[in-house]
């Protein structure tokens, strides 16, 4: 068990910067998730921690020891890989004990530890199976057993659930949390799936374009995103954004205008901002009292309805002429998350309000968050 510290870690390939000046402190026993879109540098960051890739600049410390130039085997870490990466020519026992045998542990100690690890991931009685004879979930458990058997200072998990089917993924998610509780070891987890990041982590590190965007507990990332990227990436379905301009006593976008006191929230009239509001913070005006602090109502048309059972997603257009794009929600569209009992049908005219308390403002040029409430 150990803390992991990245200071100024940068990785450049020829003319591409995969990771840019990453500074991050991970506490002993913490579960931290690196999350971001594909190609954002989260895997490269993890590889630099593992020692599979050497950083161009910066240092990495594990447990207070500078490991920047140490090979992976001397860093006291273990890793679970996306493609599971069991050695196909070895049976389960040999796979799990591989690292112990390389370190010349005593045979009885190897046996004891392998048994213990197999017990934790419930693999008893499968010691002589070959990986090719096992199901995806079983292989994943062998990979986890191989990682925990050496009792490393930190676990690295690179999208370990990516190749599992949806049901198993949810099951393994809870298993991993239990494992973390039992072992109380530092876990660094990489995923592009913000749901996994939200559910499992103590803290989330959101990465985009090789740059760390925000490191915070999941709900803080959700409620107080540091910038527009984090706001759009964390949370499903994603936040609604409205390009707006601040004027005296409010902001105005193409289709809406909302009153608030700019000076009290650090913006000045004439400033270009992006207003963000999550689908669950938009209400039909007839339910306006449910919003903590409803804005003025504005007109919209119901475009598409997606009933999910426990809730219903309603895509609204601000007017009937708005052109929709296959590439995602654009200006003039608004996604609302409503109670399933709400009676709406496609083509209806509705009036909606936003919750001022949950309306975020981002600087248009830099994307940085200005305020998370305009009440």
């Amino acid at each position: 068990m150990a803390s992991v510290t990245l200071s100024g870690v940068t990785k450049r390939y020829e003319d591409v910067t995969a990771v840019d000046d990453m500074n991050l402190e991970i506490d002993d026993g913490e579960f931290v998730t690196f999350v971001g879109p594909s190609g954002c540098g989260k895997s490269t960051t993890m590889e630099t921690i593992a020692g599979l890739t050497l950083p161009t600049e910066g240092t990495i410390e594990i447990g207070g020891r500078d490991v920047t130039d140490l090979p992976p085997k001397d860093r006291g870490i273990s890793m679970v890989f996306q493609n599971i990466a069991l050695f196909p020519h070895m049976d389960v026992y040999d796979n799990i004990s591989f690292g112990l045998r390389l370190r010349k542990y005593d045979q009885t100690e190897v046996d004891r530890r392998v048994e213990e690890a197999a017990d934790i991931v419930q693999l008893d009685g499968m010691m002589d199976r070959m990986p090719s004879e096992m199901s995806g979930g079983q292989r994943q458990r062998v990979a986890i057993a191989r990682a925990i058997v050496r009792q490393p200072e930190a676990f690295l998990m690179d999208e370990p659930l990516a190749n599992l089917d949806a049901e198993l993924k949810v099951h393994m998610r809870t298993q991993l949390q239990r494992l973390h509780r039992e072992l109380d070891t530092t876990i660094i987890y990489v995923t592009h799936d913000q749901a996994q990041a939200m559910t499992m982590s103590d803290r989330i590190a959101v990465i985009n374009g090789g740059v760390l965007q925000q490191v915070a507990p999941p709900l803080e990332c959700y409620n107080e995103p540091a910038n527009r990227f984090v706001a759009g990436f964390i949370g499903s379905p994603a936040m609604n954004f409205l390009e707006a301009e601040v004027r005296d006593g409010g902001f105005e976008s193409q289709h809406t205008s909302v009153d608030f006191d700019p000076a009290a929230h650090g913006v000045r009239p004439g400033q270009e901002v992006t207003a963000g509001v999550r689908p669950e913070d938009v209400y039909l005006s007839r339910d306006a009292e449910a919003a903590g602090s409803p804005t003025e109502a504005f007109d919209a048309v119901v475009d598409v309805i997606e009933p999910m059972g426990s809730e219903v997603f309603v895509y609204l257009l601000f007017d009937r002429d708005v052109e929709t794009s296959v590439e995602g929600r654009g200006e003039g569209q608004l996604l609302v998350n409503l109670d399933p009992d709400t009676e709406v049908s496609e083509g209806d005219d509705v009036r909606v309000v936003l919750d001022r308390k949950k309306t975020h403002l981002f600087d248009r040029a830099s994307g940085d968050a200005i305020t998370h409430s305009i009440e």
Partner: protein
């Protein structure tokens, strides 16, 4: 035609022709060959199968008959050699298989060859594995030109290297004096296995490179995180998973070096103590006044045995490596 003849009920022209042939057969007075040809035309599948058997038979005869004839010659007593037949030996003298070891220390020649081939195979697999790993798994500037350069060396005829190498190996190098009595590599196993290893190396590099490049990166990363170095990952994970490729490269190298003629016959003086290879031994049965064909034939058969055994063993390994479907994930 099928439209006018609904009775056949089939559009397949070959069936049509077959039916036609069956119907018309009694009317024509054909000889047996003509009838056979007609059957072949109506049913090409038969002709293909026939061709396959003929080709296989031809191939087996051309490759195996010389061996049989070696056996015939070997078994023929020395005095009857002029009367040796094509199919049966003129007389029966299995003693030739013992005589080859008495007349000459032929076992020593075979041992020399075996040792040289083994060292060459080990050296080629070792160096080839390192080079195959680098070319197959690492990306670096100049990879392609370097690979091409390695392959280019195998384009030269081996004879082109002979004269400079022979001069080199006959040069006395003082540094070598404590290691090799004469101080030169001539008449040592090194004189044979160094050039041969170098000549057969590019092919092995190419084979191993192809195999190693197909092992998923994750497996190597996993091995390195678990506690191996890059080299350890190569020999503990990548090589075992590439067993078919390693066996192929190894067998090819071993057979090539073991059977090699040119360097084998010129890099030593031909005496068994000078590490002359098996081939020199066989040629030694050719005296000034007499050629002992029966002994040469017996020696040839004995010399083939190690390779035959090796191939049979390796074949099993190759097949088992392929069927286990090792590289799946």
């Amino acid at each position: 035609m099928s439209a006018t003849d609904p009775a056949t009920g089939d559009d397949d022209p070959t069936v049509e022709m077959a039916n036609q042939a069956d119907r018309e057969e009694p009317d024509l007075d054909r000889g047996p060959i003509e009838a056979w040809a007609a059957k072949m035309i109506s049913n090409p599948q038969r002709a293909y199968r026939m061709t396959f058997y003929v080709a296989t038979f031809f191939f087996l005869v051309t490759t195996l008959f010389p061996f049989y004839w070696l056996l015939v010659v070997a078994l023929t007593p020395r005095n009857n050699l002029s009367e040796v037949g094509v199919l049966l030996p003129a007389g029966f003298n299995p003693g030739a298989f013992i005589e080859i070891f008495i007349t000459l220390p032929f076992h020593r020649y075979v041992f020399n060859s075996f040792l040289i081939a083994t060292i060459a195979t080990v050296a080629v697999l070792l160096v080839g594995s390192l080079a195959g790993y680098v070319f197959g798994r690492l990306r670096f500037r100049g990879r392609r030109p370097m690979l091409l350069l390695v392959l280019v060396t195998s384009f030269f005829p081996p004879a082109a290297f002979f004269i400079p190498l022979n001069r080199l190996f006959n040069t006395n190098v003082d540094v070598l004096r404590p290691l090799i009595s004469a101080g030169s590599l001539y008449n040592t196993p090194y004189a044979v296995f160094i050039p041969l290893s170098a000549i057969f190396l590019p092919l092995s590099i190419f084979i191993l490179m192809t195999f190693y490049s197909q092992i998923p990166d994750g497996l190597e990363d996993a091995a390195r995180v678990e506690g191996t170095t890059r080299l350890g990952a190569l020999f503990r994970v990548i090589v075992p998973l590439s067993a078919p490729g390693v066996a192929t490269a190894g067998v090819l190298t071993f057979i090539s070096v073991y059977n090699e003629y040119f360097f084998s016959s010129l890099m030593t003086d031909g005496r068994p103590g000078s590490w002359a290879p098996m081939l020199e031994g066989i040629l030694r049965f050719q005296g000034e006044f007499e050629v002992l064909y029966n002994l040469m034939a017996a020696a040839s058969i004995v010399a083939v045995l190690p390779v035959a055994i090796l191939v049979v063993v390796a074949q099993e390994k190759i097949v088992s490596g392929l069927t286990s479907g090792a590289v799946k994930e």
